[in-house]
Assembly symmetry: C3
Homo-oligomer: 423 residues x 3
Amino acid sequence: MLKREDNELVTRVGPDTPMGNALRRYWMPALLSEQLPHADSDPLRVPLLGEDLIAFRDSDGQIGLLQNNCPHRGASLFFGRNEEAGLRCVYHGWKFDVAGRCIDMPNEPAESDFKHKVSAVAYPCQELAGVVWTYMGPPETMGPIPDQEWMRLPLGSVWISKTLQECNYLQAIEGGVDTSHSSFLHRDFSPSGGPLGTSGYRTRSTAPRLEVLVTDYGYRYASVRHIKDEDKDYVRVYQFVMPFHQMRSFEGYEPGRATVQGHMWVPIDDENCWVFNWMYARDGQPIAADIFLHEEAMFGRGPADLLPGYKTKANRDNDYLIDRNLQRTRNYTGIQGVNTQDMAVQESMGAIYDRTKEHLGSADTAVIATRRLLMQAAKDVQEGKLPPGSRPGTVSQVRPAEMVLPHGTAWAEAMQPELVARW
Amino acid sequence: MLKREDNELVTRVGPDTPMGNALRRYWMPALLSEQLPHADSDPLRVPLLGEDLIAFRDSDGQIGLLQNNCPHRGASLFFGRNEEAGLRCVYHGWKFDVAGRCIDMPNEPAESDFKHKVSAVAYPCQELAGVVWTYMGPPETMGPIPDQEWMRLPLGSVWISKTLQECNYLQAIEGGVDTSHSSFLHRDFSPSGGPLGTSGYRTRSTAPRLEVLVTDYGYRYASVRHIKDEDKDYVRVYQFVMPFHQMRSFEGYEPGRATVQGHMWVPIDDENCWVFNWMYARDGQPIAADIFLHEEAMFGRGPADLLPGYKTKANRDNDYLIDRNLQRTRNYTGIQGVNTQDMAVQESMGAIYDRTKEHLGSADTAVIATRRLLMQAAKDVQEGKLPPGSRPGTVSQVRPAEMVLPHGTAWAEAMQPELVARW
Amino acid sequence: MLKREDNELVTRVGPDTPMGNALRRYWMPALLSEQLPHADSDPLRVPLLGEDLIAFRDSDGQIGLLQNNCPHRGASLFFGRNEEAGLRCVYHGWKFDVAGRCIDMPNEPAESDFKHKVSAVAYPCQELAGVVWTYMGPPETMGPIPDQEWMRLPLGSVWISKTLQECNYLQAIEGGVDTSHSSFLHRDFSPSGGPLGTSGYRTRSTAPRLEVLVTDYGYRYASVRHIKDEDKDYVRVYQFVMPFHQMRSFEGYEPGRATVQGHMWVPIDDENCWVFNWMYARDGQPIAADIFLHEEAMFGRGPADLLPGYKTKANRDNDYLIDRNLQRTRNYTGIQGVNTQDMAVQESMGAIYDRTKEHLGSADTAVIATRRLLMQAAKDVQEGKLPPGSRPGTVSQVRPAEMVLPHGTAWAEAMQPELVARW
């Protein structure tokens, strides 16, 4: 349970909010590289942290991320002409480069030209691992771009996608770091015992014991499920990386090739977020496109599952296409797609969930740890400090893992080799 | 005319509002029994008095009406699994019975299980006359379920339906207790002189004299129309039962079998209400389904007139399918369906009508009486008293009536036998 | 740049706002005459200055403009019966004439009839030049209806149309008095060098020098473009007439017959406005319907371009049907229709643009002049004075013009004969 003021603190992300200021100390995914496919491709609207922004790729291939409203008289740069190394407002032809500098003011006579006095808000961008990253905070606190194992792999070895989620980012994070729900929300009654082997363990042992270890990047946590009839422990270790990254191990569809998968939940505004999804094989080798697409479909976020704008066809307006007969006979929710199931419950909490009304238990230990870190980040920035995980650290050397161990094994030692990044 | 503060008082129905508190002292219709057709049927969203609620019928056939958000982490119980005498949240499997008790908490290890400390808001429900009734107030002031003549008849003798209305409940009540509008809004120019015999009297005498008699349940009122050319009085007696019931006599389609009909206007929130409609023959005997459906269609609320969710196809978004040519030639409004005509004018007043701007006359006597009773109820509850009509009384013994009498007859005496319930 | 309080002042137009009060001192277009095509035609909703109004043409052909809500109990007069020289509310039959007088109250007995005490808000209307004009201010400050050259021409010599624009009226005015944007927003790359001859000059000389002359009706302003290779000045003189009229000269499609065209931007509420468009030939003679329709289509507002209710099919919900390939190859915006281009940039500034963020230059001189006049009008009315241009004056004698002159010519003298109304 949070006090009302803490719930406000941790969920509000706009300019000049404490949490918004904290998030602006981290590099964050703004869009997929493929959304700006080539030099001078079409400008895009990219709302982030409550700000309306326009992304474009200039003639040299560089990414710009500018304020939506032209500094002159406010026309949207979305309609702009992207040409000759800059984005031109169509209203009066003012032109801006990726750094936001006004580099042409053609409707003013030479004697009154004041372009050197004008600039648009522009956030620095970098491309890495198929993602356009941006930094929206003060220049003096900007650090290097994040370095996680998946980001070091070539495209094709790592795959990435995104979907829109219509609720506050924190509900999405909380669902993502909450392992116990996978025993229920994602349960499958089909004869195969679910789509993936380890999901059987999650179904058979529904009340995991959680252990959280806070780190310099966020925390690592293990959920330990005692499988009584086999006298084993099924242990799943997640990594949570500030401010909104999650990494988990996942068997995947390809025989013998377990994967690492992750999400990044990026606030669009207080009531919406982008969900970025990535995956790679633990062996670091390429994954065929059809394997990737097969997994995406299972998660309910494949190309056939999406409307333009990355909204899923199954969404809150149609109750996620719930099929009550399916719910009675084949799966726990009657909703198809693992991430669609996540979205259904997370969005159903309301646009911004009122955490004064919740009742947390021991299964919510990671949820509590997440909030503490985020609120600490807000407090740190208010006090002029760098927030946790905003600078390079051990995150570059970790990966998540899952293992089945003899019951009572000291998992941290037994699993240690599996928790070290290899690429 | 109401003062602004009185208009606010009498129209706001949410938790912790004076009028909301008063309404919570009465049993009220929550939904139709047929909406939960069998044990373990699909859960439903039932918003009432500004609260989001989920209704379900458990394995034993009992009705539950629970808070929408699971007490654990707030996922909507709408998506819940209705099974084995309880509703299970699909997020983490927590299960609640119809009394709101948490009876299973399967994601917590035995040692940290705290289900006995958790309960969901649950309102007691009873089924009567095809309606699921609920009581949303404090347990200590709960009285017995209402007892009106129609509720004592078996289904088939009494018929019931409902529609959605997109305005504050009070506008709907005021239209329902306002007899003079029937001379205009529902006027029919077709050669038959209107669908029903007595409607001719209402058309020929448009300015009734109103007499209101306040009772222990609300009030009884008569509208007396002098039919000059016949030297008769056409007298119609309505019953208004607190807080939102209306009963009126109606000739109906079946020759020789006059009916009693009524509405209940139940606030969904400040800007929407459910209209429940019921009817039975004065002789108390069964009414054939096709007679009932014929009447429903005349009122514009038959099965063919409704969208899913009980919204009429003719609604404010399409100006109630008004046909201006029809308006010039066949009926007063150009809108089909008696209740659709009511809905059109009542919704057109705005979501919550500003009663500081109205100009009431003697024809609005019943409207004024209604507001006084409702405001009295709010005041009574604020003072710790039971509001009028919230306990059994003479309402069980009354019915409405209409008669044509020699002009000047003392109607109250002449009609008395017709105003006594027979079933 | 405006201070926040000035931006609020000049953009808010509802009842009892300073700018709303000022605008209510002028006659303004409420709708097109053709929208009420004959006596007793269908009533229409006409929202103006934040007020909900209903327009009707009575049996005698007179126009009424009444408050939406019936003074009795608030039903919308939109559903009213328009018959026998008045509009009758369908709820209880109360009837109002074009002056707002209640002339029938048929649901009240004779002894309690109080119709002489009831009236609806009714604004006086006059028809002129295909437009229904209304005056929404205090009776004691009402002046004569405006007199501009186009209003004196017969229909067929003058043509008029209207469209809906979904932003504050001031953004629309500012776009309309801003000549420099025509060099960019409306630029056409097609081989013909654009649809009209003088547009070539606007494309070749993009940084006009502006001269504003404040008058009794508003201001006259010239944009002077030096066409260097021809050693000429292309001079365009606009007239701005308080509070929202613009007049400009335009070559037009008909060989040898230059036109005068104008707009009136009438606030519907703070976030929407009507754009009225008119045109006539400088020679004052009739323009054939197909010529008019050809021009309307070029502007993107012909009959085929509109949805019911005067909203354009290309609108903000579909990004004005922008075609990025067209933008790269044929015109500056990728949007079809000159006025659709205007609408795109003006609406893209937001519903009410935040002028604290703008950066104005010398090309925005007319924009600045407009705001000053409007704010002066608000101040004048606050001080009990008549605002500028609210009484007859020299406006009846002016017209706009454009000319190509030898470079350095004193344009005011050279163009004077062209700036005098002839009809």
